[in-house]
Amino acid sequence: MTELIRLTDVTKVYQGGITGALNGLSVTIEEGEFTAIMGPSGSGKSTMLNLVAGLDRPTSGDVVVGDTDLGKLGEAGLARFRRDHIGFVFQFFYLLPNLTALENVLIPAQLKGIVAPGRALELLDRLGIKDIANSYPARLSGGQQQRVAIARALINNPTMLLADEPTGALDTHTGDQVMELLGQLHRDGQTILLVTHDAKLATRHAARVLSVMDGKIVDDARLESPERAPSEMIRVRSEEASR
């Protein structure tokens, strides 16, 4: 596999000591990996994601994505980088309320000067929401809105999909469906970075779990996927029928 992301000794200091600072964080991530980033709130996991996305700049250290050293890019360069390489999904979907689902999905393509209704519809179809293409966000359920947001994140074929608590505002069932979708995208080759505090979700599709604490990676777990018998994983018994 090819290396896609490299963070080297990255620090991020916030004025007034707001939480989320990074404290000398280094990690590399390969193309096609599904990596979960876990940690308590304020640990720096979202900050890490924002730096990879080019939404924010480190105080020191290097952030390299593909061949691009983000530190060498100006504001316009960063905007271009985000547009061409990053798909971002947030906890609260951030759809524009006065545009239809389809129009929302098309925004990133239009920023690139491309009109791509065909691809947008294809994405909506793939995400199972083609029928709501012409509906406005207010008419959609949380799960549908998040699917629209995922389609919008994918419209420009991003190098990587970054998801920050994408199921945080959804009920368990809808959240499961969104996670299933991310798993499917990963099986199709999409590189995914998922920030979550839910370990159950993190381990569902991600084979790698980074634990962030106090602005540092304290564990980098690569999980295995062996076939195991149910009795090796769960034992439903406590006492024996000896009475």
């Binding site: 308590p40 370990a199 381990t203 999980l223 062996p226 149910p230 034992r235 439903v236 029928a241 009475r243």
Partner: protein, 177 residues
């Protein structure tokens, strides 16, 4: 719970012989509780002794002897089903004992032990997630629900390790020395 009520519950539907009880019991629990046939026979004999089940037909061929619930058996089963589970909290205490002992021995640095345990829990979550997926694919919603319970318990174990980790568990032991 003990095997006793599992056997009573299965016999409520229809009379069964020992092997049928064993197979249905294991199938019901999706392979998460394996019992040997000896345990089943012992349980059936005790239940018969206590008047909760009785044999159907002749006692000739023991292996094929079928049992059914007696009226007392029905009553006992209904009573048990209506009770909440009141036992003490079952903890997987081995790691805690390890941590306590390691505190005295390891000069307070338990972080590596905690980190290894957290990894083990992450791997277990991964395994359980795959089992849940498999169960759902096979249409075993009952097993999937059980796995869901196991996932939530493991998540709690992981959070416990996180908490111990963030409060620098063991450091107080080192300070006392």
């Amino acid at each position: 719970m003990s095997l006793k009520y599992g056997v009573l519950g299965l016999l409520k539907g229809e009379p069964l012989h020992g092997y049928e009880v064993k197979n249905r019991f294991e199938a019901m629990l999706g392979g998460t509780w394996e019992v040997n046939i000896g345990q089943i026979y012992t349980t059936l004999q005790r239940l018969e002794r206590d008047g909760l089940v009785r044999p159907v037909g002749s006692r000739g061929d023991r292996g094929k002897l079928q049992y059914e619930l007696s009226p007392e058996g029905h009553k006992a089963l209904d009573h048990w089903l209506a009770q909440p589970d009141l036992g003490p909290q079952q903890l997987h205490e081995e790691i805690y004992v390890k941590l306590l002992l390691a505190t005295r021995i390891a000069n307070g640095d338990l972080q590596p032990l905690l980190a290894r345990q957290k990894r083990a829990y992450l791997q277990r979550l991964r395994d359980l997630n795959r089992l849940e997926e498999r169960a759902r694919r096979d249409g075993r919603i009952d097993l999937a629900r059980l796995v869901r319970g196991a996932l939530l318990h493991t998540e709690a174990d992981l959070k416990w390790m996180d908490e111990l980790s963030s409060e620098r568990f063991g450091a107080e032991g080192a300070a006392k020395k």
